[in-house]
């Protein structure tokens, strides 16, 4: 649980392209980018089609996760390196997911597709062939996942970090500005939440800021690092990014991602909501 064990650089990936113990996985909401070009040897997981239950709103079951990894030739001792577009939102969501199911060695490519592209590093279109494994996941680790009742109970007591944009936090926008502003949820935020947009933890090229800058960011915004922290956004992927920063880069053990996030909270009947900055 540190930058050294959780994050790898583009140089590290370039040096390990033919390392048989490393499997690269591109994770996104739009896997057509993968088809246009991906890092050599990478397989792809689709955020919705591969990682959402589909019938109920939840993670896929342990058995389905095992089947997904087995089919793609990932073993329990594989070093899994995740990356994606969207500043690694969905890749960090997958990172959190691999941790939920207890995968031992999972890492994130710092900067994801963006840094790789801005460096003009090569992409290929050839699909890798991988030999299936028999993957055994662990039972879900819910110590890193928050559910709605504990979020409501945390109001005014624990750190709640809203990582959406200021306009979504204040209630001006219902969704990120690259999505249509149509939504069944009301607008606003969870009372007493601090608005620390995920983007403040990242440089323009998608890489993470330094540990010193990150600590200053959260402490400066009023997060008491000694207290438990719950991060949320709209659907739980941007908050996985901030969860990664707090839990993995800064090494705080008491941080949960509320993947129900605003699409769940903003639909609940009778819960308190705040608007404005």
């Amino acid at each position: 649980m540190s930058r050294e064990t959780s994050l790898v650089s583009a140089d590290w990936v370039a040096q390990n392209l033919n390392n048989p113990t490393v499997v690269l996985v591109e994770v996104d909401e739009d896997t057509s980018l993968y088809e246009q070009g991906h890092i050599e040897g990478a397989i792809t997981f689709h955020w919705r089609d591969d990682l959402q239950d589909g019938l109920i709103r939840d993670l896929i079951s342990k058995e389905k996760f095992e089947a997904l990894l087995s089919k793609n030739g990932i073993a329990t001792d594989t070093t899994v390196v995740l990356y994606g577009g969207n500043n690694n939102w969905f890749a960090t969501y997958a990172f959190w997911y691999f941790k939920i199911y207890g995968h031992a060695d999972v890492r994130l490519l710092d900067g994801g597709r963006k840094r790789w592209e801005l460096d003009a590093r090569p992409f290929v279109t050839t699909l890798p062939t991988r030999t299936a494994t028999i993957y055994k996941a662990k039972e879900r680790d819910n110590s890193i996942r928050a559910y709605r009742d504990e979020v409501i109970a945390a109001i005014g007591k624990l750190n709640i970090v809203d990582v959406r944009s200021p306009a979504e936090f204040s209630g001006e926008l219902a969704a990120p500005a690259h999505l249509p502003q149509e939504s069944g949820q009301i607008k606003g935020h969870i009372p007493t939440a601090k608005n620390i947009p995920w983007s403040k933890a990242a440089n323009e090229d998608g890489t993470f800021k330094s540990d010193t800058e990150l600590k200053e960011l959260y402490v400066g915004a009023g997060v008491d690092l000694a207290k438990d922290t719950i991060a949320y956004c709209r659907i739980g992927e941007r908050s996985a990014f901030s969860w990664f920063v707090l839990h993995e880069l800064l090494g705080l053990s008491n941080v949960k991602n509320y993947d129900g996030s605003w699409t769940e909270y903003g639909s609940l009947v009778g819960v308190p909501v705040a608007i404005g900055a």
């Binding site: 592209e117 944009s165 306009a167 926008l173 502003q181 947009p197």
Partner: protein, 107 residues
């Protein structure tokens, strides 16, 4: 290829309810002739960042294969930052509901 001053280059707006949406969109083109006119090939997979009036990051999209991008914003002042390998361009725009901002950005 499109030329400067031709029909603006963002994605087709048919099917979008302009009475409710505030669009900022456009196309990213190379400087084709070395004359400062964006009449070159479209730049796909460039990164377009939308910053609010205080410079705060709001959203980011990659341009599509035709070099196009689109944001659904709110009325007000915004800054676009276009990132591609070896290039960075900024544009300031004022967005209003009903009248899409449609840009041609040269890199």
């Amino acid at each position: 290829m499109r030329t400067c001053g031709a029909t603006p280059g963002g994605p087709d707006i048919s099917g979008i309810d302009l009475s409710t949406q505030t669009l900022i969109q456009g196309v990213i083109l190379r400087d084709g002739e070395g004359d400062g006119v964006p009449n070159g090939s479209p730049v796909g997979n460039a990164y377009v960042r939308l910053l609010d009036s205080t410079g705060e990051f709001t959203a980011e999209v990659p341009s599509n294969a035709d070099g196009q991008f689109r944001f659904f914003a709110a009325p007000g002042a915004w800054t676009l930052v276009v990132l591609a390998s070896g290039a960075r361009e900024e544009r300031k725009v004022i967005a209003t509901k009903g009248n899409p901002v449609d840009l041609v950005v040269e890199i």
